[in-house]
Symmetry: C2
Subunit: 113 residues, 2 copies
């Protein structure tokens, strides 16, 4: 058991030291240090979370909300700093997904056969 958590801590350290994480931190700081990008990124985050929450709770999303979300996504795509940040997030998330898939393989194998 302790072995398992040791390995998890090794992965955590390896992630922290990875180029992918360092680039993500840099991109995040770039956005946070630019007032316009910061506000837009936070609006994007809030909107995504809000829509996700409504969807999960089965609350209907109005056309107005969809339009507003689309406008923010368009602005985000035009902002190079935020686009870069999202790209770096996705890259790191792919790594974390890979790791999760490896770790949960025993469960998958059990239920699949």
């Amino acid at each position: 058991m302790s072995n398992m958590y040791d390995s998890a801590n090794d992965i955590e350290k390896a992630i922290r030291n990875s180029v992918e994480f360092k680039e993500l931190v840099e991109s995040y700081h770039n956005v946070m240090n630019d007032e316009e990008a910061k506000q837009l990124f936070e609006a994007f985050r809030d909107t995504q979370m809000n829509l996700q929450e409504k969807q999960m709770e089965g609350i209907e999303i109005s056309q107005e909300e969809i339009d507003r979300a689309r406008q923010i996504v368009e602005k985000v795509q035009q902002n190079e700093m935020i686009s870069k940040l999202i790209e770096k997030e996705q890259r790191l998330n792919l790594i974390i997904d890979d790791i999760s898939r490896i770790i949960t393989r025993p469960l998958e194998d059990l239920y699949e056969y």
Copy 2:
């Protein structure tokens, strides 16, 4: 990078060799080898997945569906083999959640500060 995946593979092996996983496998086989428990467990799984899917897609769940799900849950709770299986699943999931939390700590730290 390779270091990260090596550690993930170490965790996978450690999970496979853990008492918790071995007990889960045993509980699962016990259920699968009992026709009544197997059918009830599969009905339980199907119902849970069906309701979850509807919830995620924002489809309303009828009172009839809620009642049917509740009946299955009651039967499941009365079945010792299935109750044991669910308990073993939850125990292993706690471990996997712990590991996931450790691994995603760098991301949490980044966005929290």
